[in-house]
Amino acid sequence: MVTAGAARPRPRRRRAAFIAGPHVLLVPAAIALAAVSVYPLAYGIVASLRQYRYGLDMGFAGADNYLNVLQDATFLTALGTTAKYVVLCVLIETLLGLGLALLVNRQLVGTGLWRIGIILPMTVAPVVVGVMWRLIYASDIGIADPVLGLLGVHGVHVLGGESSAFLGVVLLDVWEWTPLMFLILLAGLQTIPQEPLEAAVMDGASALRVFFDHVLPMLRPVLFVAIVLRTIDALGTFDQVYVLTRGGPGVSTQLFSIYAYNTAFLFTQEGRAMAMVVLLLAAVLVLAGIAIRLVRLGPGTR
């Protein structure tokens, strides 16, 4: 055995292309991904440590930008607004999407037709979505105010009040992205095997019990992916709100992205804007880490 190792014929250095092949294919994409992520991120971090004035780089600023940002009440408000927005949107969209998916996940007349109608909103550019809802909400030409009037709510202008504008923006997001939740969850529901559910029914479980004891746990991985994707996207919401309210009235719909955008491009405080972005990314990464850990540690996971 001792000599066998030395005497053992070694395969020649061989078929390099065949072995390395798959890894080689990763390289171009990796370069592309690095170009669009590592470079901007590095740039952003460097820029966050520099002072800009009139668009010109005035030199190293240390932690000034970070300190300024953390003392900026408007920024902190924007973070709070964003958190509220994301939680509310994702929650409503998940519940509505799940509800719709459960409704459609059965033998219905014209399933495909229902689906087409429901998915249309998510195909439209967010800018156009902003336009659509502005046409609806506008107090003089829109239809929201008269409809609210019919419902007995008079004198409310959706975009004219702070909480109503916030809810209006949330409603827009719900309109646009519930379809995504719906489709993902419907697909998830359709992969759930029917036998365990039937067995549960045979065991005498009510529909609700079956849902909570069986359907929901089995749907959990899909639900998790859907929520993560939607949360990531909701955090970056910009176009629709920009078109619809520009963050107003006051700061009621001023999401993080809008404030950071204004700071970078309107107030020409590139360094400060980058500090905001870096802070947000760090916060999100920490939260994501916690979330992943919680999910991993949670009961009922594989």
């Binding site: 294919l25 994409a29 669009v36 495909g112 309109w175 998830g188």
Partner: protein, 275 residues
């Protein structure tokens, strides 16, 4: 009896969802067909004197011809480019040992890239493009979109390719194919639905982008439809009629596209997200 009324309720809920989903489209379309005076004249669900003036204005005054052409060109090449880059990478990932470190990290990186806010991206991209004289060119946009979309392609295609039985590819190898020709002749044709779904989502993502196009372009030489739509929201004036028309023009190609490829669309989501 109870069963029947429950069923009726379900349909009722679905109809409500449809109305909710479709009404904004209807309202935008009717607005786009109204004269300025009528838009402000009160609530009309149907235009009293339908006009195409708003649409004509888009193409006569607001450069929507070039915007549309730019959008289509940029989308076509960016999607093709990111598929060409991302698909081989996704294929390579499926060839790595399952659940291997690299595979997991790669997918996490892809997700992280997706998380970077556009505000972070636009300034560096602007500088790079400026450096190479690619600002305000379609090529510049194509390069940026191709890079950004590659991660998405990897993410989706990986799950599609992983579904193709390994045996089939190996059969091709034994039958005399090289890795590459097996990929071309056997794997990709089998992944065609996935490729289609990925392409669809890429088209939608890229066609709908606003902030990057807004920053990287400044003239109709390269500006895309969403930028064009935003042009109509002036500093002090909103051209409601043309804006609605622009919304219709902006949404139309993608809706028609979505309807045509509806089945793939759903499949793409199914596999991409459920896997």
């Amino acid at each position: 009896m109870k069963r029947r009324s429950r069923r009726a309720l379900i349909y009722l809920a679905l109809v409500a969802a449809q109305v909710f989903a479709l009404f904004p489209f209807w309202w935008m379309i009717t607005t786009s067909l109204k004269h300025q005076v009528e838009i402000f004249g009160g609530l009309e669900f149907l235009p009293q004197a339908p006009t195409l003036d708003n649409f004509a204005a888009l193409f006569d005054r607001y450069n929507f011809g070039p915007f549309l052409a730019n959008s289509l060109l940029v989308v076509a090449f960016s999607v093709a480019g990111s598929l060409l880059l991302g698909t081989p990478a996704a294929y390579a990932l499926t060839k790595l040992p399952t659940e291997s470190w690299l595979q997991r990290q790669a997918l996490i990186v892809v997700l992280l890239v997706r998380m970077l806010p556009a505000i972070l991206l636009v300034i560096p991209f602007y500088l790079v493009l400026a450096n190479y004289g690619l600002l305000n060119t379609r090529l510049g946009l194509i390069l940026v979109y191709t890079g950004l979309n590659t991660g998405f392609v990897i993410w989706l295609m990986q799950s599609f390719l992983a579904e193709i039985p390994r045996d089939i590819e190996e059969a091709a190898l034994v039958d005399g194919d090289s890795r590459l020709s097996a990929l071309r002749r056997i794997v990709l044709p089998l992944a065609a639905p996935g490729l289609a779904a990925t392409a669809i989502f890429s088209v939608i993502n890229i066609y709908n982008d606003f902030l990057i196009a807004l920053t990287m372009t400044s003239t109709p030489d390269a500006q895309t439809i969403p930028v064009g739509v935003s042009t109509l929201i002036g500093k002090i004036q909103i051209q409601w009629g043309p804006m609605a028309a622009a919304g219709v023009v902006g949404a139309l190609p993608i809706i028609v596209f979505a309807l045509i490829v509806q089945r793939h669309f759903v499949r793409g989501l199914t596999l991409g997200a459920v896997k």
